[in-house]
């Protein structure tokens, strides 16, 4: 007897026929289950949204008036013939993997994830399944992240040096997740001065703080800042007229892509910190092993290479094309909100 797949891949996104819903679709659909608030996953225009209680406030902030429902981690919900639950992905606060079970068949959509705990996001939990749809943004063996403690120490030293030289420290980091992770890890390591934020970072920071995430105090930049300040801004603000108004300052960029010298040189960024909210090569491989799945679909990243690698490891492997053939983010920090 031919079994209908639990999830199928359509031009609007990943679809579950048994429950008549989509997961992180990129075209407007009646019902969307959303893994987290980054704009390449939570897009505007859907009829109804379902996301974790922890992710919803930011999604509402970003998408405006939407019809949305919240769900707790591991809380089972029946949608049509499908049983659905959300499980921590460790990517950013509120992020989830989505488990879909139809009959006895279990599929998990990873969304974006990382295995290392960052002290802020709900830590990644491995979910057993038959089929695992995994991101592979950094799915090449050249990506190995340093520990967060090491990066925090390096960042604090850089901040301290700048402060001693009378220069403001400006850190480029994505507004949802990375920015707050950096403040939290620096607070944990030891602050070198006050933290200021760009207007694109502050609202999300306030929302997350109000939700109960432990974040150090921040002030939105509105005029001069003290020279011992750390200013966290979106990467696009680096080298901008906005940054120039901060006076003498040093800029740095925090991203997994900074592991590659070519990308660093192209962006002309002096100081860089290698820190990512995605799994590195070893992280992807151990996450996949832990699911116990025999069938793996790769999406978002180096899908071709990663699929071949998985096949060589004995998996039944495929590729889920996203809107941009699964590789819009390839090597390009600009196009890749982490």
């Amino acid at each position: 007897m031919a079994v209908k797949p639990v999830l199928s891949f359509t031009e609007k996104g990943i679809y579950c026929p048994a429950g008549d819903f989509y997961i992180d679709p990129w075209r407007p659909v009646p019902r969307a289950l959303v893994t987290h608030g980054h704009l390449d996953h939570a897009r505007p225009g859907h009829g109804a949204y379902l996301a974790t209680h922890a992710a919803l406030p930011v999604i509402r902030h970003r998408l405006g008036a939407i019809t949305a429902d919240g769900i707790g981690y591991a809380e089972p919900r029946q949608i049509g013939a499908a049983q659905v639950s959300f499980h921590p992905a460790g990517h950013v606060p509120g992020s989830a993997q989505i488990r879909v079970a139809v009959g006895g068949e279990v599929w998990v959509v990873s969304g974006d994830y990382k295995l290392a705990t960052d002290g802020l996001s709900e830590p990644f939990e491995s979910v057993k399944c038959h089929t695992f749809i995994t991101e592979c943004t950094f799915g090449l063996p050249v990506f190995h992240w340093p520990t967060q403690a090491q990066t925090a120490a390096d960042m604090a030293a850089w901040w301290g040096r700048n402060a001693a030289n009378g220069r403001v420290s400006v850190m480029g980091a994505y507004g949802l997740g990375k920015a707050q992770r950096i403040m939290a890890m620096l607070a944990d390591h030891g602050l070198q001065g006050p933290i200021y934020t760009h207007g694109a970072v502050e609202p999300i920071t306030q929302i997350l703080r109000a939700q109960g995430y432990s974040l150090p105090p921040t002030t939105k930049v509105a005029g001069p800042v003290p020279t011992n300040a750390l200013v966290i801004a979106p990467p696009s603000a680096l080298g901008s007229a906005w940054a120039a108004k901060l006076g003498p300052h040093a800029e740095a960029f925090a991203s997994g892509w900074m592991a590659l010298r070519g990308v660093r040189r192209r962006r002309n960024l002096g100081t860089r910190f290698v820190i990512s909210d995605h799994a590195d090569w070893d992280g992807l491989n151990s996450a996949i092993r832990a699911t116990g799945a025999t069938r793996i679909f790769a999406t978002h990243g180096y899908t071709t290479q990663f699929r071949r690698w998985l096949e060589a490891q004995g998996y039944d492997a495929g590729i889920v094309a996203t809107e941009w053939q699964g590789e819009a983010a390839e090597g390009e920090p600009e196009a890749n909100p982490e």
Partner: protein, 524 residues
């Protein structure tokens, strides 16, 4: 290696020339002296003999990392640098060596020529005792191609700061083929013996000119054809005859027809000029010279088919005396006198002077450059000395506008280094009847922003992948500029372009209206 890694990081972390110079000057003050010599050598493109080729390195790294070869090969174009790819995939190391840069280079030199097992063991042992960043530098020592954003000028400036020796004297001392393994730092920077060896002078370089009207009276200038050959410096000193290319490569053996000049030219002279393949009355197309450059030894037939000639345009040394401070007018006169005294039939001539009463007249002559097989004119101030490197104001190249053709992109490939992960290397086609025929590649001329946009487009529109190359629909039209065109039986289109590059992205131009192969053939 640690001090060298520190220097490398300091240079890599900034794009400001001042900060780079300072980091380098500090290094030239406090690093171990043998390391300083090797650093100068590496920064000026020298490196120890290869202890391993890139195929071996890839295979050993894959094995050490427990990865299949294909995955290392797939990672390489993403990283854009083999040395870095290998450094990144290797498992973390437990021990750290504190061997100096010179120590590691000595290790590599000792490995050269040994059995593959011995070299493999040596390289694996090195990887095992170096941190990721140091591994990258170690690999670079083997693969070559250090790019630290340090120009020759910046390096000599830093060295001058650190040592107090005059910068242009240093530039001269660092020329030629000294061996970093046996050269002492103090000897290298203080060596006074300048006119007895085969050591060349630093080449004077020209800048492009925008508007000749701003150059003052035409009588202040000497105009010559700008040849499309190889810039060369011919040295004839007692017991030392040498031909150097502008890239400081010794190319004496590639042009054996010049050997007669060792006896014919006066002793103790140095000439600056252009090596060309000579036709009946003008240089032959560059393609013929290309055949000569690529051969280390020249077969008789090629020597007969493509005879080289040295077109001299400057005299830098005469009777063992450095003439570079003398005005060009004086040097040129001495050159003409010297050449005129030579017997007939030698493969050398003075590059002709182009004379016109005013700029308009000169512009008219320049327009005929292609008939002379030249790219345009060189303009040199008659009162100027022979400068070290590029000093704006006395030497200009006044080139013809390039040829152009509109063409459509049909293949794209990602670049290297800072252009890795961007599609920057494109193959272009023009119409040949109803078909598109590929006729050239080009990879420069667009802004980073345009390359990013095209990269997105390529990713969304890939038809097929052939390794790192993608075929794309024939939709994006570019204006291609090039300096010359020659027949080429090796290419499907039957033509080969000289210096092709993208002039601009023609978003306004439909594919139906791009150029044709016939149009290009008409330029031959």
């Amino acid at each position: 290696m640690n001090r060298f890694a520190q220097l490398f990081n300091a240079l890599d972390a900034t794009t400001k020339t001042g900060a780079k110079t300072e980091a380098l000057a500090q290094y030239f003050r406090d690093a171990p002296k043998p390391d300083r010599v090797w650093t100068i050598a590496l920064l000026s493109g020298r490196r120890p003999k290869r202890a391993a080729n890139s195929t071996e390195l890839r295979a050993w790294a894959a094995e050490a990392a427990g990865l299949p070869d294909w995955l290392v090969d797939e990672s390489y174009p993403i990283v854009g640098d083999l040395a870095e790819t290998i450094a990144l995939i290797l498992p973390p190391t437990q021990t750290r060596s504190n061997l100096s840069l010179t120590g590691w280079i000595d290790t590599l030199i000792a490995l050269t020529g040994q059995s593959i097992e011995a070299r493999r063991a040596g390289v694996l042992a090195a990887w095992n005792s170096l941190a990721t960043e140091e591994r990258f530098l170690f690999n670079k020592l083997i693969t070559g191609g250090f790019r630290m954003g340090v120009s020759g000028g910046l390096m000599t400036r830093a060295l001058a700061q650190a040592t107090g020796v005059d910068q242009s004297q240093l530039a001269h001392r660092l020329m030629g083929n000294w061996d970093p393994a046996t050269t002492d730092f103090d000897d290298l920077i203080s060596d006074a013996d300048q006119t007895t060896s085969t050591r060349p002078y630093p080449f004077a370089l020209a800048s492009g000119v925008e508007d000749v009207a701003e150059l003052g009276p035409v009588t202040d200038w000497l105009a010559e054809w700008k040849w499309d050959g190889i810039r060369g410096q011919l040295i004839n000193r007692p017991g030392a005859f040498a031909l150097w290319s502008r890239g400081e490569e010794l190319i004496t053996d590639r042009f054996p027809e010049f050997d007669v000049l060792a006896r014919a030219l006066p002793q103790g002279c140095v000439l600056d000029g252009e090596v060309v393949v000579w036709g009946d009355s003008a240089p032959a197309p560059f393609a013929l010279l290309q055949k000569r450059i690529t051969r280390k030894t020249v077969p008789k037939k090629l020597l007969a088919d493509a005879p080289a000639r040295f077109l001299a345009y400057d005299l830098l040394e005469l009777s063992g005396r450095d003439l570079r401070e003398a005005p060009l007018a004086t040097r040129r006169q001495a050159l003409d006198t010297m050449i005129a005294a030579l017997p007939a039939g030698l493969p050398i001539a003075a590059s002709p002077v182009v004379v016109a009463p005013d700029w308009v007249g000169l512009a008219g002559l320049r327009a005929s450059a292609r008939d002379k097989m030249a790219e345009g004119l060189m303009l040199k101030r008659l009162s100027a000395p022979y400068h070290t490197g590029r000093k704006r104001g006395d030497w200009y190249k006044w080139k013809l506008d390039p040829y152009t053709v509109d063409a459509v992109m049909i293949y794209a490939q990602s670049g290297h280094g800072r252009r890795a992960t961007l599609f920057t290397d494109f193959t272009f086609a023009v119409w040949d009847g109803p078909d598109l025929v590929p006729f050239t590649k080009a990879y420069s001329g667009l802004t980073d922003a345009e390359f990013r946009q095209i990269t997105d487009w390529v990713k969304k529109n890939t038809i097929e992948r052939f390794g790192p190359v993608r075929s794309v629909p024939a939709e994006l039209v570019f204006e291609i500029a090039f300096e010359g065109i020659a027949q080429s039986p090796r290419h499907k289109s039957g033509i080969a372009l000289r210096f092709p590059r993208m002039l601009r992205w023609r978003r306004d131009k439909p594919v139906a209206e791009i150029g044709t192969l016939d149009e290009l053939r008409a330029l031959l």
